[in-house]
Symmetry: C2
Subunit: 321 residues, 2 copies
């Protein structure tokens, strides 16, 4: 959590000339999102978040992300709405970086979501999946099966220095997922990073999703598997089947899962766990010990992967026939 | 600039039970202040800043700081106003740290203040100095003449690794300041860290001071000297006499300086420069290169000190007879 780019009052004032937001009443760097620089921006017209995109987000992907938020917001879904300038452009440039102003979304992210929060999540996720069906732009997932061998090679032998035998285990898992990858499942726009950090609540009401910068076109069920991994395990990594039942039931109230999707849940749960195990391992070795950015522990996703490896049937996740 | 302590929604909710602020609508870590953890807190009742005091601020000093903000706010001066709980207590505890909620102060800090901003600063500083005269609590300055030899010893020979001959120069300067320290000047509560970061403006109006956690009882003119050093030099470290004239004139419109104060400006300008040279040098060697906290460059204050060493008379600073 850090603000990477320092924006001066002069830079900001020059940038805001393009918008009809009135004069600035407050401007502060905020610790939200790990990949970009985010600022709280209060003006005479209201409250906003200003994001400067740092290098990890590709500039050519930005129209996809911005258009997606506009698409959802136009349909009344709860997410930040991009603010356009006098020429109807949402994306601008500030301090040499692509920059975007979005509306301020009320809500607080939960550290320890409860079972009823998982139901709210399931419902909202299904609504986003349906709302994304007619989104015109395309963006393939750049962190899926085809991309993992490369990431695994970059981590290399260091995996074993993290945990003995881990390298062999990941190699076998990659082979298993390649052989068992499901085909013919419903696809569409997925959020792909819907951790509790990225979901806001106002008391028990889900007030919106944020941080769409991993969104892409992929298997819809994969998004649900990522959510199950992120929301339905306890701090000791025990699986909480009540939370998963709530998640799936609320999701299916909006978009019932097909039989083939249900059958594919165990393999996509493994896939979702491996994806975060790999990126966390990579970041673990890429981040200096002394850095103030808190590294996320890869072992959490190693344990989740091991749990999924022991599961044989989707009913073990609380998903009903 | 970083958020050091992570506060969960559960911790926050439990903490806020003591207050009458309604439920939380937003909560985000903000990059404000280097020493403490600061959070933006929006509730049904309004906008606030929550501060957790990390170890650099001494717990026993907190009643002084909090009482001072209450004292200023009660007199209508522009600064954050501490929010009290149902038992009329401002200081609480959160995540094992002393915690304080203050009102949200509108305004933006300036990267490059202009001459007219220095006039606003001078006026507000004099008003704060006068308003502090009847503040009941005491806190001696812990970063003044008596404390510098110790700090200098901790830096030791590394000063010369920063700049050749620096150690000898600082030793001589410490001796000079000890021999020439002014006595009998008006004293009172000073802010002691009134850099542009800590002064908010709304357009050209000064909207308030923040970050009173170096405030203490000391020579009032020393505060003015610190402001001159921080506000009246250009990015290339050239002294801008117009800015200093504006600062002093506006200050004197509210509190005219005594003859002895004017005579003491050159020595206190040197003292103010040495204080920040020493702390920046100390932090320079104490902060790892890779840390995301941006180290402040000691050479800026070395150049300012060298400038002041060449000044003979207060009129050279634009201060009139």
């Amino acid at each position: 959590m850090a603000v990477y780019t320092d924006v001066s009052d002069d830079d900001l004032e020059a940038f805001l000339k393009r918008y009809d937001l009135g004069s600035v009443t407050a401007f502060k760097g905020i610790a939200e999102g790990v990949e970009n620089s985010n600022f709280l921006l209060h003006t005479e017209k209201g409250r906003y978040i200003l994001t400067l995109f740092e290098k990890r987000v590709k500039a050519e992907d930005l129209p996809f992300f911005v258009g997606l938020m506009q698409h959802y917001a136009a349909k009344g879904l709860a997410c930040p709405r991009p603010v356009t300038d006098q020429h109807d452009q949402a994306l601008g440039e500030l301090c040499g970086r692509p920059a975007l102003i979005v509306s301020f979304l009320n809500g607080v992210s939960l550290r320890r979501p409860q079972a009823h929060h998982c139901a709210r999540l399931g419902q909202a996720l299904a609504e986003f999946h349906l709302a994304g069906q007619d989104y015109a732009l395309q963006r393939p997932n750049s962190l899926t099966l085809k991309d993992w061998p490369d990431l695994f090679n970059k981590i290399g032998a260091r995996a074993n220095s993290f945990s003995s035998g881990l390298s062999e285990m990941i190699g076998k898992e990659l082979a298993y997922l390649k052989d068992n990858w499901p085909h013919g499942l419903p696809e569409g726009i997925i959020h792909a990073d819907l951790f509790p950090d990225n979901v806001f609540f106002l008391k028990d009401r889900l007030s919106g999703f944020i941080d769409f910068y991993f969104a892409c076109h992929d298997i819809l069920l994969y998004d649900l598997a990522i959510c199950m991994n992120a929301w339905c395990f306890e701090p000791d990594n025990a699986f909480n089947i009540t939370k998963a039942q709530n998640l799936f039931q609320a999701y299916q109230n909006i978009r019932p899962l097909q039989e083939l999707e249900k059958q594919s849940l165990p393999v996509l749960a493994r896939a979702g766990a491996l994806r975060f195990l790999l990126t966390r391992l990579y970041d673990w070795f890429a981040t200096p010990d002394q850095a103030l950015v808190q590294r996320k522990d890869p072992s959490e996703y190693l344990k989740k992967l091991q749990f999924h490896q022991s599961v044989n049937h989707f009913q073990d996740y609380g998903l009903l026939l």
